[in-house]
């Protein structure tokens, strides 16, 4: 027992001696000379993991003499510059053996690779290094976990961190003069920004939409904020009912938008002219549009409809009742393609919600008449198209009539726009023009079909005549040959 006690004591003493020998001389010296960097590094996440200064700067931290500790032969590299900074970080962060086995880290190990492919990974104006290094966002010596509220990349600090460069007009001019530098200012006015400023780390900040290491230009089709990808990016949070619960807003916007005319155009047809979330709500200054601004928002694209509505009698009535203009009839996220069924006085028609036979009667009469007119043009267009198609199927040349049908479509389109003026006289004018064209097309289509049958009859008669002549000729030949045989 005594022997065992002596062995254990000797082992502990040897450990103490070994620990004294392996003391980090970098820290002890730099503390002695009052270097602030050493103080900062004490708080660094890397220091907590036992990584010495030499982890980045090289050298031997156990040497007593500075010349020996910071000798090039010992691997000392001094202060890394330019791309060497990120290379030094990647030495460990891209190495699975170090990150997983030594530090049991779950961080992805391709950050540098992704950063180099990002818009920030492009060469800087000097042409010697990339625009952004790891330290640009994460800081140096005082690096803390991204989950720590003191980290410059913690959600509540991200906007300011990004703004260090993005709000610097002189700096940004060197890279992208067209890119605005007021994103942070706008962000502060947004719902997201205001909550973020209050210390709420859940609302979207720069990284939530643009990504972190993998940030791409908004014009890059792979970017999370490229129009076709943006609705899904917003939906990451806004379609998460649990995440949105505390904000008391619905989480079905993306679902509704996806089946809307805008959603289908953007997400199914890839038409980037169609509005994504940011086109109505704004992007950095995103807020829900108010009642008064809805028509302005829609009017940025549907300008003619908006101006017709603004000069219509409905404008005053809607303002008085504080009704949102476009939204009242068309809805918002789930806006479907406007059909003729919206117009009129049938139960499905939106006009009938306010205009009844015994209530708001003038509007009732106008809506009814407009629907009758639009239906008559639709029916006339359908008949004309059928006639032209029938003639085409019969092999007739009706390209002119087919071309005129475009004018009918144009008239129908115009009439649907003119509905927003709620002016029966103007509406009638356009409809009459369309009906006149369908009349011409119908007569051309019918003429082509008549011509087709005329050709059939003509062929029948011509064939008959030729056949009669041929038979007569055959009979003549037979008669001549019989006569010749008799003569022989």
């Amino acid at each position: 027992m005594k022997t065992l006690s002596i062995i254990v004591l000797s082992f502990l003493v040897s450990l103490r001696v070994s620990s004294q020998q392996r003391e980090d001389k970098c820290m002890s010296c730099h503390e002695v000379i009052g270097d602030n960097v050493a103080e900062m590094y004490k708080q660094d996440v890397h220091a907590h993991k036992g990584i010495s200064c030499s982890g980045c700067h090289g050298g031997d931290p156990h040497m007593e003499e500075m010349e020996q500790a910071m000798a090039v032969e010992k691997g000392y590299i001094g202060v890394p510059k330019g791309d060497d900074i990120s290379t030094v970080c990647a030495k460990c962060h891209s190495n699975a053996a170090i990150m997983v086995k030594e530090y049991n880290s779950i961080l992805s190990r391709n950050q540098l690779e992704i950063l180099q492919l990002s818009v920030h990974g492009k060469l800087s104006v000097s042409g010697k290094e990339r625009i952004v290094q790891c330290t640009t966002c994460h800081g140096v010596h005082g690096i803390v976990s991204v989950k720590s509220p003191s980290s410059p990349v913690f959600p509540t600090h991200v906007p300011k961190t990004c703004a260090k460069c993005h709000s610097d007009a002189i700096f940004m001019r060197a890279y992208n003069p067209a890119l605005p530098v007021d994103q942070l200012e706008k962000y502060h006015t947004s719902v997201h920004g205001m909550l973020n400023a209050k210390g709420d780390h859940k609302p979207a900040e720069c990284v939530s939409c643009h990504g972190s290491h993998d940030i791409r230009s908004a014009k890059d089709a792979k970017s999370a904020v490229y129009p076709t990808n943006l609705p899904a990016t917003c939906a990451k949070c806004h379609s998460n009912a649990r995440y949105m619960k505390e904000y008391k807003i619905p989480s079905d916007q993306f679902k509704k938008y996806s089946v809307s005319v805008h959603g289908k155009a953007l997400l199914e047809k890839g038409d980037i002219g169609a509005p994504a979330c940011n086109d109505c709500h704004g992007n950095h200054a995103a807020v829900p549009p108010g009642t008064e601004s809805i028509s302005q928002v829609c009017g940025t694209c549907h300008s003619l409809n908006a101006s017709l509505f603004a000069s219509s009698p409905h404008k005053k009535a809607f303002d008085q009742k504080k009704l949102p203009e476009c939204e009242t009839c068309h809805g918002y996220h789930e806006i479907v393609s406007a059909t003729d069924e919206l117009l009129g006085v049938s139960p499905d028609a939106v006009c009938s919600r306010c205009h009844k036979e015994n209530q708001n009667q003038k509007g009732f009469i106008v809506a009814k008449k407009m629907r009758e007119l639009i239906d008559s043009l639709e029916s006339s267009d359908r008949i004309a198209t059928l006639l032209v198609s029938d003639a085409e199927q019969k092999g007739m040349e009706v390209s002119e009539a087919r071309f005129k049908l475009r004018d009918v479509r144009q008239a129908r389109l115009q009439s649907r726009t003119l509905v927003h003026s709620f002016n029966l006289e103007k509406f009638h004018e356009v409809l009459s023009n369309g009906l006149t064209i369908t009349g011409v097309v119908k007569s051309q289509g019918q003429a082509a079909i008549d011509e087709y049958y005329f050709r059939r009859w003509g062929l029948g008669i011509a064939t008959l005549i030729i056949t009669v002549v041929a038979v007569s000729l055959y009979v003549t030949i037979r008669r001549i040959e019989k006569r010749q045989t008799r003569q022989e």
Binding site: E397, L459, T463, V469, A470, L473, Y474, I477, I480
Partner: protein, 366 residues
């Protein structure tokens, strides 16, 4: 005033001595045997070429050559001009039937060895007219300036361009430049309505004079023609019929049947116009030449890129050129037939070529 054909005949005869012609026609005889039916295809070809001239002249009244006008003018002919659709459809159908009839006529002459002495010149003029017919088809195909025609011409002239040494200059000459453009259209129009018809008329004149002068060739082995029954080498008894009126009236009867066929085709299958050519559009899928070029087109598709030391396409074009040349000169190398001897080798070559054309055309079509 009493009308009578006799009086009219006398009136004309008095001035131009028609009786000489009638006497000449009266002495013309056409042999009758089991292959006589093939004689009619020469007449059918002639009839179809007359239809082409007549309908072509009528189309010329409205057709406007030029990149911006050609397609529209055909559209106008098809939709606005009275019976324009009929004339254009007949012209297109008759063109195809003409090539078919001429082809049948050529092979019937070949298998009947009718090219043998003394009819070498008739064969040569016929062959030249056949090549001209293909030229008519190729040049006429572009004139509507539609998508299919444009790309078919592009491919066709590209093929001409691969011939060593002379290919490129030929291609540039045909196109009127490096690419198929409005200049090509003007050029093809010129060939189609002026150059080719002029040459064709001269050749047709010589061909018909030779046929009239030398009479119809009889199957090898016939010794006597004028009304006497003789035994041919096929072992059958042969006799003759007067050219006028018997053969001529039979010819007329067939022409009427062909006219009927043309009318039915034109009405039931009007020739489509398609889309206007767009010089910057990509070639649509399934570009094919007219059926009579299909066997050559298909052969070129089957040939490997490299054949020995020569490019596959160049080999194919040179081979077709050589075969065509030898085919045209058959009266000069088939000595046996000229001596009146049987030559089965000629038949085997002919059968092989006919089968080759039919099979490759079907493969190209499907």
């Amino acid at each position: 005033m009493n009308f009578s054909w006799g009086k009219i005949y006398s009136w004309i005869n008095e001035r131009v001595h028609l009786e000489d012609l009638v006497e000449f026609l009266g002495k013309k005889y056409v042999p009758i045997h089991r292959h006589s039916v093939w004689y009619y295809f020469g007449g059918v070809s002639l009839f179809l070429s007359i239809i082409q001239v007549v309908t072509g002249i009528l189309l010329l009244l409205y057709y406007k050559s030029g990149e911006e006008l050609a397609y529209e003018s055909i559209q106008f002919i098809m939709s606005k001009v009275e019976f324009g659709w009929l004339i254009r459809s007949i012209h297109s159908w008759a063109a195809n039937l003409f090539v078919l009839a001429a082809m049948i006529h050529m092979f019937s002459v070949y298998f009947g060895k009718a090219y043998r002495k003394p009819r070498e010149m008739t064969w040569l003029t016929g062959m030249l007219m056949f090549f001209l017919a293909l030229g008519f088809g190729f040049s006429g195909y572009l004139l509507p300036w539609n998508e299919l025609a444009f790309f078919a011409t592009k491919v066709g002239t590209d093929i001409a361009g691969v011939i060593p040494i002379i290919g490129k200059p030929i291609m540039i000459f045909l196109r009127g430049g490096e690419e198929v453009t409005g200049a090509t259209l003007s050029r093809f129009f010129g060939f189609h309505v002026a150059v080719f018809p002029g040459i064709f008329t001269v050749l047709l004149g010589i061909h018909l004079i030779l046929v009239q002068r030398q009479g119809m060739s009889e199957p090898l082995g016939l010794e006597n023609t004028l009304g006497n029954e003789v035994k041919t080498i096929y072992g059958e008894r042969s006799r003759t019929m007067p050219f006028f009126p018997n053969f001529l009236l039979r010819d007329l009867l067939l022409w009427l049947i062909v006219l009927n066929l043309l009318a039915i085709l034109a009405v039931f299958f009007p020739w489509e116009l398609g889309k206007k050519a767009d010089l910057f559009a990509p070639a649509p899928a399934g570009i094919k030449p007219e059926w009579y070029f299909l066997f050559m087109f298909q052969t070129l598709k089957y040939l490997p890129a490299q054949l020995w030391i020569i490019d596959g396409e160049v080999f194919g074009i040179l081979a077709f050129g050589l075969v065509g040349f030898l085919w045209m000169l058959v009266p000069f190398w088939d000595r046996k037939s000229s001596k009146g001897e049987k030559n089965r080798f000629i038949n085997y070559i002919g059968i092989f070529i006919v089968m080759y054309i039919i099979i490759l055309t079907i493969l190209g079509w499907t």
